[in-house]
């Protein structure tokens, strides 16, 4: 295989048939996923799901029922099925807090806070992996060392900084914070992944006269899709489920995301905890959808065959 052929092959979208074949390549004989493997996985998945099933059932029960009998009694005593109610969801979605607006706010906060660090981090990871420059190793280690700084340490200094810039309470306040704290991990993961990419492909592209810009966009970025998709999921989740940063930098009000809105359902002493079960599931739907959508990028074989040539 010539270098240009591999470049094209890696850069163009993988045709469906080829993807399916390579996806089962290592999985080899389906017979290898024998009953032992299957039963282990089934047991594991069931155990994994039990806490969530319990909460899911509870979200349809009244608070008295939930406090007095176990959630499995709904399964064991099907007669109690009639006592299930949608009230928790109605209260969580209706009520005085505008959940629709909160949902839009959550999206408005999460999407840029996911894309922008990915973009910045991929550029940096690219530079750290494929470009030679002085201080490369030192700067990389420095960036990774900053992983140890917990984000809550930065609340007050950044709040003061934002106050001088006058952006407290706005979306960019949260974006910038999430970007700042997501970068170390993103660079770490992406660089680690990029270093497993075949250097020969990149080098031959350079020899063919591609600029760094082109190499990045046409070659490295598509090949790094699994790692980028992986990190996108985590960052999305982290920002979507975040409560503290939103509370501190955006605060309750017109711009509050869903996580902040949900806390307003509870009374001062925790009355209304049954609403958090319903609320938890409402906020769960979107991240799961995102995960399912990004799953398809975890395909193997994007680089297979590109090394030996």
């Amino acid at each position: 295989m010539t270098s240009t052929a591999t470049t094209e092959a890696a850069a163009s979208p993988i045709p469906k048939t080829r993807r399916r074949r390579s996806a089962t390549h290592f999985d080899a004989n389906p017979a290898k996923a024998g009953w032992l493997v299957k039963s282990i996985l089934i047991v594991l998945c069931l155990l994994w799901l039990i806490p969530l099933i319990g909460t899911f059932i509870t979200s349809f029960r009244t608070v008295d029922a939930a406090a007095n009998t176990g959630w499995w009694s709904v399964i064991v005593h099907p007669s109690t099925l009639s006592s299930l109610t949608l009230q928790n969801y109605k209260t969580a979605l209706g009520g005085s807090t505008d959940m629709g607006a909160a949902f839009v706010n959550s999206l408005a906060i999460t999407l840029p806070a996911t894309f922008i660090p990915l973009l910045i981090a991929s550029w940096a990871a690219y530079a750290f992996t494929f470009l030679q420059f002085r201080g490369r190793n030192f700067l990389f280690l420095f960036i990774v060392s900053m992983l140890v700084v917990p984000n809550y340490v930065a609340f007050i200094p950044i709040l003061k900084l934002y106050k001088n810039l006058g952006i407290n309470g706005t979306f960019p306040a949260a974006w910038l914070f999430h970007i700042g704290f997501g970068l170390s991990l993103a660079i770490y993961i992406l660089r680690n992944y990029m270093s497993t990419l075949p250097k020969t492909v990149i080098e031959s592209a350079k020899m063919d006269g591609a600029s760094n810009y082109q190499t990045f966009y046409r070659l490295v970025l598509p090949m790094s899709v699994p790692a980028i998709a992986a990190f996108a999921i985590f960052q999305f989740l982290w920002v979507w489920n975040d409560l503290l940063v939103a509370l501190v930098f955006i605060g309750p009000g017109a711009n509050q995301p869903v996580t902040v809105a949900l806390t307003q359902l509870k009374g001062q002493l925790g009355q209304g905890w049954e609403l958090t079960t319903a609320g938890g599931f409402i906020t769960l739907i979107l991240p799961v959808v995102v995960f399912l959508v990004l799953q398809r990028y975890f395909v193997r074989g994007l680089t297979s065959g590109a090394v030996k040539g």
Partner: protein, 326 residues
Amino acid sequence: MLVKALTAVITVAAGIGAAFVLYWILNWISEHIPGDWGRRIQPYLFILPALAAIVVYTVYPAVLTVINSFKDNFSRHWIGLANYRALFGSDAFRSTLFNTLLWILIVPAACIIMGLTVAVLADRLGPRGEKTTKTIIFLPMAVSLVGAATVWRFIYDAEPKGSTQIGLLNAIGSIFHKGPVAWLDTSTFRLNSLLLMVILLWAQVGFSMVLLSAAIKSVPTDTIEAARIDGASERQIFARVVVPQIRGTIVTIFITVTITVMKIFDVVYVTTGGAFNTDVLGNQFWTQISTYFNYGAASAIVVIFMIAVIPVMWYQVKHFQTEEAT
């Protein structure tokens, strides 16, 4: 509402657009500087935005924290080592340190082992089974840790003897006529801390599974085919061909999870609040800030934590240097 949605869309597009434009500008700059300089400063330009953001959001607060650890509760007067002396002199803090150490020893290793197991086993299934398994294991990650506390309440809850048990573990126990155990209150052998670790693992294994899965799938299939042709068993293939090639990812995850565990506070905060001997450094920091309003002590805790992380960082550096050498 429509105006709101429209505004949101515009702001999102503007934000993302701004990032693209930024890089476009940087690239344009580097390409238009005459001679060799353009090429030489290009890498620095590529990493400039990342470096700037990291310096502002992590380095600046970190430096400020170290300074504040020597000041009083609202960072107004210098008090020297008083915060550190108070912390190390308190039994509660030493217990917290011990707990944190326990978490660090157990959770990262467990997370990797479990993540690897699931990634490898699921890999053997057909695409649909694999997708389902992975989604199920991943599902807890989509639940925020506050939500996870509510969720696990229905497993660990304990009611007085004679009342119906609403926690699953105690309900199973009552079938066997074993009295209700107050799981989260039992600190013998740090049982409650172990149970809290279960919650964190439940929520975090998805993370390591996803990354390990991506890594396993990026192992070039030729190497595996070659080994198979040579007659190696699946287990040998895994140990001798796959693992060495994903070693980098394993180390990455290990370090990431270790650091996350050291910082952890949500799980403890929303379940026991650190009571019953479950306190960890992150939660203690949060208590100092939010309840005692003692920024000096809180900063000292962070400094202790950052110092404690040095061995981890050192290991990471060594690993990195070995990798670079090959």
